[in-house]
Amino acid sequence: MGGPSGTCVPWREFERRIAFEDVPSAGAFMVFSRGRDMFEVARNFAHFFAHESCGFCTPCRVGTSLLANTMDKLAAGKGSAYDMQRMQTLMRVLLSMSHCGLGHTAAKPVVQTMAAFPDAYERRLKRLDFEPAFDLDAALATARHITGRDDDWAHIVSEEA
């Protein structure tokens, strides 16, 4: 209900009322079919808020970008429980330290979809421990190109034992 910063009502709660006392709305709403991946919806909104942030205050300027980057990391299949923990911190800081309403509500789509659709997040976590955000082998590509090397030591095999 509302825009990207509105209230996410999953199908399990369809008996709720659009009313000031329950789910307030400024008049706008968006409907997502069950076929939609709500993680991707939240990731799109995270980028929307990073783009919309004016940059005046630290929590929103940096926090919205960090949140969008972390959602990208999860989308790329490199997420871990550690990232979920860091996102919780980001969301708390955005919610309670930002200067204006944009920052206060910027984390709402992530917070709410995380609560309503935990599976959408959990199946993207590669490991419980930790995974780098960047592709180690891809980060060597420029040097491989410059040196013309392609030997074993010029690569980093992921899932290295």
Binding site: F134, L140, W153
Partner: protein, 180 residues
């Protein structure tokens, strides 16, 4: 505690060994420390291969493929991984190349820099291949403890190591923290 000595490994990735020098600056206290710890892989004893350890101390940022192999071996083998110094914590001085194109770096160093004649880019497989950017340790593996400083003062090494020997969780001591 103290029936068994704490097994410690150390390494320097993209660092200058200044943090190792600072560790040695605990001076004669190292004799007391030696009663409670034993060194696994470390440049101090020249052992090259790491085995299961209690504590791994990592100096320097991650700038090339070899750094990743060493760092991952440390993470796999060490119960507690300690990142030490500005380079390990933030990328530090080596990361100042992060906004210079890697190709420009190679050209400056191997081809057109002052005093170079007929320069060429080396391509020996023995040479570690550099990444596009230098990364702090915590962007590549999970880190348990961070000791800031360039280098972290000897007293900070002493405090943290004696805490770990005694089975205490090291706490943040404001008087021992300096980033420069």
């Amino acid at each position: 505690m103290a029936d068994r000595k704490l097994r410690i490994a150390t390494c320097s990735l993209a660092g200058c060994f200044g943090c190792h020098m600072s560790l040695l600056d605990i001076d004669e206290r190292i004799l007391e420390l030696a009663q409670h710890i034993t060194f696994d892989r470390t440049p101090l004893n020249d052992v090259k291969k790491i085995g299961p350890c209690d504590v791994g101390i990592v100096e320097g940022g991650v700038c090339n493929a070899e750094n990743v192999h060493v760092l991952k071996a440390f993470r796999r083998n060490c119960r507690i991984l300690v990142a030490v110094g500005a380079c390990a914590l933030t990328g530090g001085v080596p990361a100042m190349r992060n906004n210079v194109d890697l190709w420009d770096c190679f050209q400056e160093v191997y081809q057109y820099g002052g005093g170079i004649e007929d320069g060429q880019v080396p391509n020996d497989p023995e040479l570690p291949l550099p990444f596009d950017k230098v990364h702090p340790v915590h962007e590549v593996v999970r880190v348990d403890l961070s000791l800031p400083g360039c280098p972290p003062p000897a007293d900070l090494f002493w405090k943290v190591l004696t805490d770990l020997v005694a089975g205490r969780t090291p706490t943040f001591d404001r008087t021992l923290v300096h980033y420069d």
